[in-house]
Symmetry: C2
Subunit: 451 residues, 2 copies
């Protein structure tokens, strides 16, 4: 659906919901993909949304629910009774159901689990045990597994049996009698094989699988590196327990990129892009602003310490912004490349020394060029060579320092198990500001007699 | 392959290549996935790399080539003669071959095209006509299409016929006699259908396809929204011309996210994370540093204009960093959410007024809180209530202003067809610095008599 159409349909739906025009609403929704309905739900009034959602049958309602932003989903759920909620959860894939139930208050989740199909309930309970950011937390129980001694014909029967439960089938997982994963068979190879052949004869034996405890970002990196459409999940002893498909991995990739981008911008936790409450937005943005605030109070303190120098040469104050900005920008450039490479797995920490050296040279050349430019500016503008030389030197030192901080801090953070992306945000800017100003004012004060 | 293993294998390969130990090298490589070999190639010496690459047969060489970073790939290609290059290109999928050929000098590309298989050559020539950032630029010619009147059995024969050419098959595209795309049939449905049934009876008719000219980021957003494992590409008149698969879309998503993150950090074009040349790194980083540099020279000029005020109340200089940093941080937060939402398609421009209003309230509350804090600090530290009130007011105005600039600028840029991500980087920080300082110093000067 095009963006311009959405606005029109939203206005329409708001109007029809107001008028309680059930038939017309259903007429509009019948042709829409669940993802499009979810999209509309992000924009229509809350009252209309609750009303319209109740018109959907459980199957469609569960598909729409799975596509909603978390805040919109939570608002919607609050209005549902346990019967309706159980109906909807019953229709969901195990991973979506788990996702939803883990967000519900414990007592309600328990009631829902008691009402849904026993097998589904067991699966969800199993999935709920895993950390939500791991392979176990994002995997689904919907997959097709066949025994290695099965024939191709039997495997096709198994696909038929599970056709309704498992919507997207790309590969069959092949197991031994102990449920150990021993091979993979693509649907294409299954189609092309003779009916009486054994699965073990035609399956691929070099399997790429992940353990339940593996971090979801690493799972996504593995799938991306090897171009896997789905990835089987095994437990600690090698038994097949689940499957993660490309669409969930795309969600992980987008989520992790958004998270890095947000942290880079100094937004804690996750600000949902469609979040509507100013207070909730403020809550995720204020913490890093406060960190920056405190950091810059230290800058103010440093400046006050050098009040005498500033009083003697007020021109030194003119160049505070350029020193701060250049240190900040160079630091962010260095740290961003580092953090992004660590996230995508492109940077191998074992070659870290080379990276530091490279960054040192980059910042040295950059500092030299910008230093020359500021020298030129000051000579032409303020006609003061010595002052220009000091500012140029300070700029260069600040840029080299900020770049090295930018490349080293993410590594240190990672070693302490802190998200390195933090290093690309206000944290590094602020610490570079304080450090940069200190270096700058020290140099000014040191060379004051020569101005 | 684990990161720690890579280092060991790299050292090994360097040593073996030096010793020209072909057999041992082949022994090491035989068990590795092409993506792992590419990974090693990013770290081994250039000489070793050229030597080892020549040991690979054309099939493996083409797989490895397709997985390499662009700069590593270009270095490698320089050492190949046209015969070998043609052999390798001949083994590639049409999209990878196109990608590679578009980077070659025109005359060499032509020679290669003349040497490869005629059908492949025609396909690549067709693909080369599309802009590389569009659906046409990333699609491949490897897909399976069947006529709507075919039977299931005939469709399976077609899969068999194309099995070698099309490695991953998820869906069959169904066309009419004019090659118009009229339906889609999943491999799963094909397996489950009776052999004599007609394809048109079991295919899905509501198809989501994209046109060749659609921007690749939009293609990725569509595939992600509707959870599509592959997406058929049609030309302007609806004829089926190609297919884009999930793995290429994952590349697009990662590429676009990296690009946004880099632009946010003030890195132009694309800095490859594994880039080794300090000069090439500097070339992509320096432009925005220069923009920041010039911007902050304006800041220096503004400060000089207010030299008198600064001389009278030197304490005003102490708070330059906090004014700059808070404006910068708040602006980046606002613009980042905006830019990210525009990139993922979550923000609908038709509801833009609401967003501005929301951002206004967020920044007003935030400014108020931080204003109170700075007032408190100044009263306690410098014991000057009036001065504190002015700084607090200035901080609040600067934060509100920076936030509004942050939310509005991306939209303006987009309207002029400029990548809105630019608004999250040094551009917005710098302009907020200049504007913020000006507001700050104006207010200081205005209220100077009351200090």
């Amino acid at each position: 659906m095009e963006q311009r159409d959405i606005k029109e349909v939203v206005d329409n739906l708001n109007f029809l919901a107001e008028a309680r025009d059930e038939i017309m609403i259903k007429n509009i929704l019948v042709d829409l993909h669940p993802a499009d309905i979810a999209d509309l739900f992000h924009h229509i009034n809350e009252n209309s949304r609750d009303y319209i959602f109740n018109l959907l049958n459980a199957d469609l309602a569960s598909d729409v629910m799975a596509e909603l932003d978390e805040s919109a989903r939570d608002d919607l759920i609050e209005e549902l009774d346990e019967n309706r909620l159980s109906e909807i959860v019953d229709e969901m894939d195990s991973d979506d159901a788990t996702d939803l139930l883990s967000d519900l208050p414990k007592d309600i989740a328990k009631k829902v689990l008691d009402r849904i199909d026993v097998k589904d309930s067991q699966e969800v309970k199993e999935l709920l045990r895993h950390d939500e950011d791991t392979a176990g937390g994002i995997m689904a129980k919907e997959y097709i597994a066949v025994h290695q001694d099965s024939t191709v014909d039997e495997a096709i029967q198994e696909v038929r049996k599970k056709a309704e439960e498992v919507e997207d089938v790309f590969n069959l997982y092949v197991t031994d009698e102990m449920n150990n994963l021993v091979g993979i068979l693509s649907l294409k190879d299954l189609i092309l094989a003779k009916a009486h052949r054994k699965v073990s004869e035609i399956m691929k034996r070099d399997i790429i699988s992940v353990k339940t405890s593996l971090d979801q970002e690493k799972v996504a990196n593995i799938a991306k590196k090897y171009d896997l459409v789905s990835i089987p999940v095994i437990n600690e002893v090698g038994k097949l327990v689940g499957r993660i498909t490309f669409d969930d991995l795309a969600d992980v990739m987008e989520e992790e990129a958004s998270e890095d981008i947000q942290i880079m911008a100094g937004i804690t936790e996750e600000e949902e892009i469609r979040e509507t409450s100013p207070f909730r937005i403020m809550r995720v943005r204020l913490p890093w602003l406060l960190v920056g605030f405190i950091g810059e109070l230290i800058s103010a303190y440093v400046l006050k310490k050098f009040e005498l120098s500033l009083n003697q040469i007020i021109a030194a104050a003119f160049f505070i912004p350029i020193i701060m900005a250049m240190g900040g920008n160079a630091g962010i450039q260095a740290s961003t490349t580092m953090v992004r490479g660590m996230a995508t797995g492109e940077i191998n920490m074992l070659f870290f020394n080379k990276r530091i050296l490279r960054e040192f040279f980059v910042s040295l050349f950059t500092g030299f060029i910008l230093g020359l430019l500021i020298l030129l500016t000051i000579v032409l503008w303020l006609n003061n060579m010595n002052f220009g030389l000091i500012i140029a030197l300070a700029l260069m030192v600040v840029i080299v320092n900020a770049s090295l901080v930018g490349v080293i801090v993410p590594v240190i953070l990672k070693r302490f198990n802190i998200d390195p992306a933090i290093a690309t945000g206000p944290f590094i800017t602020t610490s570079n500001d304080v450090l940069g100003l200190f270096i700058y004012l020290m140099l000014i004060t040191l060379f004051l007699p020569y101005f």
